[in-house]
Amino acid sequence: MKKTRKFLLVVVLTALTMFGLTIDAHAAKVPNYVITTDATYPPFDFQDKNNQYTGIDQEILKTIAKREGFTYTLKPMSFNAATQSVSSGQADGVIAGMSITDERKAVFDFGTPYYRSGIGWAVKKGSSIKSLSDLKDQTVAIKTGTSGADYALSIQKKYGFKVTYFNDSDTLYNDVINGNAQATFGDLPVIQYAVKNGTQLKVMNAKSPIQAGWYGFGVQKGKNAQLLKSFNKGFAAIKNDGTYDKIVAKYLGASAATFTGDKKANNSVIGILKANDSAFLKGLWQTLLLTIVAIILASVWGILLGVMGVSQNAGLRGLSTTLIYIFRGLPLMVLAFFIYIGLPSVIGMKIPAFTAGLVTLILNEGAYTGAFVRGGFEAVDRGQMEAARSLGLSYGKSMRKVIVPQGLKIMIPSFINQFIITLKDTSILSAIGILELTQTGSLIVSRNSQGFRVWAIVAVIYLIVITLLTWLSNWVEKRTRA
């Protein structure tokens, strides 16, 4: 018992130290900015075969940073999270193939527009759809928060189609290819790059982008003037000396395999595993770390909530019921966004994604744990407490010596169940950009378009971990019963 406690303590401390280190790492003299990006937006932003972030945006940014003498920490996440992180002050700048619009100008200050783009629309190769009017009663897949989505919505009434939303380009394309949706609207270069990459779509307006407009690098309005200045200065320079044109040509002119790895590596499960072993391992480690720390802290918090829930003090009981009600009621993803994106603008402090994710898990899983812990204590026969009290033991001693040990035994199956749910719930935190197993899968798929194989690999890894976790739990359960 003592040994396990010590072990848990070490795990928790290690984890906490790690957050501490990531928080303090920016104390250098050269300005270091936190830049967010959309992790799955080729050719502007995506991971190459070495799991490095690359693309037109990334090369522009890297070149400018080198020239202008600043460093940055890149935070890849979903497009929405990327922009909201900056508008809420969580991050300093965003470069994510973001179109400059009047609406966004209200929230962001943009650097010199760096790429002229426009909206394109595409259908499945071989589709019978010829024009926008053929979209009547069909479904159009759009990516949340993009100009393509805005445009599609603006003409939705006129052409009478339905829309379905996605956070990730690759899933979106597959939806069209599989026929769940019949068309998609998005940034023209992005769709063209995907098509060049072998995505089975046909671009309908390659020559005439709709609402042609510019991409911009954005910072929170009124903040980070220095960063913006550096960006503009550097951009003017690379535009003049031809570096910019080279970068664009490299991505729009090159074949996909240059960046995404050769066919052989992508056409078999083994090949994908080999090509991405370090990415999978890193993702798995993040998932495990999140799970283990969350399981421990959520259990502690949940037991506390449960003890409060059966307390003699009506105020504590009420508090416990309220906390359980709130955090069990909130969808995990809403809670994660609230903590990661909503809270920092109020408390004026950045919250690292990992910490935000961990707190989310603790609050949510802790609430479920609290509910079954309270139930477990209530399931212990009332006579046990009366007998303990009648001997002169205080309420606290009676709880510790008699009720809690019996209650915990009743709760063991619920705990095991909750551990497994916690492991699975970590995947939801990919939404705030934590590079855990699921997010790792998304990134790899966005590069190699091997959805079936990659997701099968990810699924099997989860099953293996869940099996191990179940074995471990059952072993612990047997030992406590003996």
Binding site: E386, S390, G392, K401, K409
Partner: protein
């Protein structure tokens, strides 16, 4: 009567208790002397358990005074845990701690409350197991015991705190008939040692044999009390007469 017997152990004065509309105890007053064995009888729902549980504050009275062992337990500032150390209670359903062995059940309170160190507590526990004739059960789990054995362990557990007063709430009601005798035997021996005992029971034979006084509860009131001869052979109260005739014919 010796002087010690004159001493009042339990003093109850004008105690009332209601559960909502249900007025369960009405103006109860009674004094119980040291070394006295009092048996409480009465129909179901008459308030016997409520009365007994009030003597160690498992229930709180709405008003009135309860003094046990010189401590006014109806006074909020009294440390009830200290008072409870001197009042043993035995429940109808035994309530042995399921997460401990027999020996641990008996040792728990003395050790946790700092009355004895572990070694002394174990020695005492084994002595008590001898007293209740269950020395061979020291290390078994309580769930493997029969009802009669459980109740005798429960008595030993209460005695481990060396209480001055023992409360019994229908200690044999949940037992198979053949187990009842063993438990009553232990209680009879305990009465012989001079323990102050307050016992709720339907065992009229036991009451006749062991009780110094029998108290008849009905509708939340003490309707009549007296020696076993007075209560069983010459009941005055009409409800008591009716109650006795019912149980004699049962």
């Amino acid at each position: 009567m010796t002087e010690a017997q004159n001493k009042v152990k339990v003093h109850v004065e004008k105690v009332n208790k209601s559960y909502g509309e249900n007025h369960v105890l009405r103006d109860i007053s009674i004094d119980i002397a040291a070394n006295e064995v009092v048996v409480m009888i009465g129909p179901s729902g008459s308030g016997k358990s409520t009365f007994l549980r009030m003597l160690n504050q498992l229930e709180t009275p709405d008003n009135g005074t309860i003094v046990v062992d010189g401590f006014d337990i109806s006074d909020k500032s009294t440390d009830i845990n200290k008072v409870r150390e001197n009042i043993g209670m035995v429940f109808q359903n035994f309530n042995l701690f399921n997460n401990y062995t027999v020996l641990e059940n008996i040792m728990l309170a003395p050790v946790e409350l700092g009355k004895m160190d572990k070694a002394a507590a174990e020695k005492k526990a084994r002595e008590l197991l001898d007293v209740v004739n269950l020395a061979d059960k020291a290390d078994v789990s309580v769930n493997s015991l029969s009802g009669g054995q459980k109740q005798r362990i429960a008595i030993a557990r209460a005695l481990a705190m060396s209480p001055d007063v023992m409360l019994f709430d229908e200690p044999t009601s949940a037992l198979d008939p053949e187990m009842v005798g063993d438990v009553l035997e232990v209680m009879k021996n305990l009465a012989g040692t001079g323990m102050t005992m307050i016992i709720v029971t339907h065992e009229m034979g036991f009451a006749k044999q062991v009780a110094d006084r029998v108290v008849f509860f009905e509708s939340g009131k003490i309707q009549e009390s007296g020696t076993p001869e007075q209560i069983f052979n010459a009941p005055k109260n009409a409800r008591l007469q009716e109650f006795l005739s019912k149980i004699m014919h049962a």
